[in-house]
């Protein structure tokens, strides 16, 4: 589905944000890699979906009422078989924090290769227009607020300088015996989000339809970056 259609559909459904599947479809439109996935309405549709995907998989609830899926028990990782997936879906549907919510369905995704969690965000400043943000995931962004902002559109040099100014930048080079991760892949993703023809320039300018964006996490390995979760707030 095209970007404008995804947004129009969410609006038609009176949503204030894109659901995860629509958000990832939007990222795909701009060339940001997302895990291969399928959506199902219920456990009965799992077999067909499973045939197209490569385990291990992750199953996630899709509900406009649930913002923090993990906290609500709406995420099951390491799912290896269709039977496990059906069990997970049935368990979620019956769980106390989900059973009264509106459920759009379930997202079944291939699991991204392990790597460093990165956060990329977008925000519309009333005076300066779209801003793009990057930070390292987990405590770096949540506790230390170790993030860097730029005004869109950014150049590749801007993107590289954003990464260099993070206090945790050494982690990317492979601190404490870890493997280094691909800075080029992060810079590519930043350009697709915050560059000249990026997502934020298209959707966050004066009359743009998106007010805020979180890609959290972007999982970055030695060679690639995959957006594992994404949230777009509509204006």
């Amino acid at each position: 589905m095209k970007a404008q259609d995804l947004i129009a559909q969410a609006r038609a459904q009176q949503r204030t944000a894109l659901d995860e599947y629509a958000g990832k479809s939007l990222l795909t439109e701009y060339g940001v890699a997302v895990p291969r996935s399928a959506t199902v309405k219920n456990a009965n549709e799992v077999d067909a979906a499973f045939a197209r995907l490569k385990p291990p998989l992750v199953v996630k609830i899709m509900s406009p009422d649930i913002l923090h899926k993990s906290d609500a028990g709406g995420v099951k990782i390491g799912v290896k078989s269709a039977v496990e997936a059906k069990d997970a879906i049935n368990a979620m549907a019956a769980s106390p924090r989900i059973k009264d919510a509106r459920i759009d369905g379930y997202l079944i995704e291939e699991m991204a290769p392990a790597g460093q969690e990165i956060v990329i965000g977008g925000l519309r400043d009333p005076q300066f227009g779209p801003l793009v943000m990057v930070g390292l995931g987990g405590i770096f962004v949540e506790v230390l607020a170790d993030v860097s902002f730029r005004i869109c559109p950014i150049t590749r040099l801007d993107a590289e300088e954003m990464l260099a100014e993070l206090k945790g930048a050494a982690i990317l080079a492979g601190a404490r015996g870890r493997k280094p991760v691909s800075r080029a892949a992060i810079v590519d993703a930043l350009m697709k989000i915050g560059g000249e023809n990026g997502l934020l320039m298209q959707h966050m300018q004066h009359d743009g339809d998106i007010s805020e964006a979180d890609i959290n996490p972007l999982m970055v390995s030695e060679s690639a970056a995959v957006a594992v979760d994404a949230r777009f707030i509509l204006r």
Binding site: G121, D125, L131, I151, A213, I233
Partner: protein, 494 residues
């Protein structure tokens, strides 16, 4: 590329042509001057006459025929020649009708009066003011500001002395701070190509004035005090296109919480504060400073020194008297990202061969007690500096003199000789190192007087002078950041 270049040149000429009458007005109208008792506009008339303004002055008054010896006119449309600049300080509610009555006879109106958009009940009046300026065919500056200081135009809003036209162009959103910048700046040796206070920026924006300063050949460095950038997007795009072709120093007042208030996302909650201004400075090479002193210190530095982007300031040599002061400065400079690291063996050997008296440290910082510095009436400095420049090759040299320590021990000319020696060495190695002087004193009146004279002489020779090492450090760090930006963008193809 060629088309783009033409567009840029055209815009540049447009801004120059549009704003030149503001900075060099041939005709000035004044609204609010009284024939009976002196008001602020009467003082304005006196000030610009004293400041050397040589064009026409037209007081505008509904009934008086003469004010301060000048023929008065009833409206802005009645003056013999069209008005380049109108200075307006009367009750706000009367102004819209006055502007509208100008009927294309006025180029710029600066409204000093307040009670407009800066207060809730004045917002409508400000809208009227803008509409009437448009209807009257002029550009509006302010309201709620103090005026313009333009030595080349002979116009000033402040009581000030020197009339020399300099190279520092400033835009200030605050009038009071504008006065501080002019007065303190002049006292420290800053020479202005212009300073304009813009208040509420109801029509002419800071961005337009920055564009003018970029286009203006007289202006070499640009300063801006800003609280809100209503046209932030345009400012960003303009500054980005300029790529710091002239250094821009920004003093930002008022932290915004806008990002935080509306945040529905994680990113939103992390925005807030001044992150957008930090982003702006990183992407456009503008230098952000935190205090009025740093603002003036940094403007003075860029006025005096020519940036060397091909070798950004990094390695600094400290040379002077005061062991503790140079140790403290070494630590402080390191915090600012500048290196005061010891010389290599060759340089140290060459300095050692001078056989300077005991108590002299020659590794960098080069710490010379007064006894050493006054050798040969201060000419010893030339030998030391020659070795430092020739062999140590620093990016910047900070010469610091604790003036108190010379009192009663040296001939008065020692200080002169020291600085003269430094300047001779500077000349021998052109473009090699930025030279900065720190004159430390203890506030004792005769010493302060000497320092003032000294400062004036040094600044006239293109040497920026600071009161303390930390001030010099901040200014050099700003220079470093400007040079690095220009270098990184000149080699960037992304």
């Amino acid at each position: 590329m060629r088309v783009l270049y033409c567009v840029k040149t055209m815009n540049k000429n447009n801004k120059l042509r549009e704003f030149s009458p503001l900075f060099e007005p041939k005709t000035v109208a004044v609204i609010g001057a009284s024939a009976k008792s002196p008001t602020l506009p009467n003082h304005f008339i006196r000030r610009i006459r004293e400041f050397g303004y040589s064009g026409e002055i037209y007081p505008i008054h509904p009934s008086a025929t003469e004010i301060d010896g000048l023929t008065a006119y009833k409206t802005l449309a009645d003056t013999p020649l069209p008005v380049d600049y109108a200075y307006i300080a009367v009750a706000g509610a009367q102004i819209p009708a006055m502007l509208e009555a100008a009927k294309g006879h006025v180029r710029f109106a600066q409204v000093i009066s307040s009670g407009f958009g800066e207060v809730d009940e004045g917002k409508d009046l400000q809208d009227q003011l803008v509409a009437s300026a448009r209807a009257g065919g002029m550009r509006l500056i302010g309201p709620n500001c103090l005026g313009i200081f333009t030595p080349r135009g002979g116009v000033t809003f402040a009581e000030v002395g020197p009339q020399e036209t300099g190279t520092v162009g400033v835009v200030s959103q605050s009038g009071g701070l504008g006065t501080d910048i002019v007065r303190r700046g002049l006292g420290r040796g800053v020479k202005f190509s212009g300073l304009i206070t813009v208040g509420n920026c109801a029509d002419v924006t800071p961005t337009e004035l920055l564009e003018y300063y970029f286009a203006d050949a007289q202006t070499k460095v640009i300063g801006m005090y800003i609280e809100t950038a209503k046209d932030g997007r345009r400012m960003f795009e303009m500054l980005r296109t300029q790529k710091a072709a002239k250094p821009v120093v920004i003093l930002k007042g008022g932290r915004t919480q806008q990002g935080l208030l509306a945040a529905a996302s994680h990113t939103g909650s992390l925005a807030g504060d001044d992150r957008v201004w930090i982003a702006l400075s990183k992407q456009t090479g503008c230098v952000m400073v935190d205090t009025l002193d740093q603002f003036i210190d940094t403007l003075l530095l860029f006025q005096s020194l020519t940036p060397q982007p091909q070798h950004p300031t990094q390695r600094v040599t400290l040379f002077g008297n005061g062991g503790g002061a140079s140790v403290l400065a070494t630590d402080y400079f390191a915090k600012l990202g500048l290196d005061v690291t010891p010389f290599g063996a060759e340089t140290i050997a060459a300095l050692a061969a001078l056989k300077l008296p005991p108590g002299t440290s020659i590794t960098n910082p080069v710490d010379c007690p007064v006894g050493t510095l006054q050798q040969d009436d201060g000419r010893v400095a030339e030998k030391i500096l020659d070795i430092i420049y020739g062999s140590g090759k620093p990016d910047a040299l900070v010469m610091h003199l604790n003036m108190s320590a010379f009192v009663g021990r040296s001939k008065p000319e020692v200080l002169d000789n020291l600085v003269a020696a430094a300047l001779r060495v500077q000349e021998k190695y052109p473009g090699q190192a930025h030279f900065v002087l720190v004159l430390r004193s203890d506030g004792e009146p005769t010493l302060e007087q000497r320092k003032r004279e000294f400062r004036a002489r040094a600044v006239a020779l293109g040497v920026p002078v600071y009161d303390e090492m930390s001030n010099a450090g901040h200014a050099l760090a700003a220079l470093k950041s400007h040079e690095r930006f220009v270098w990184s963008r000149s080699t960037d193809s992304s």
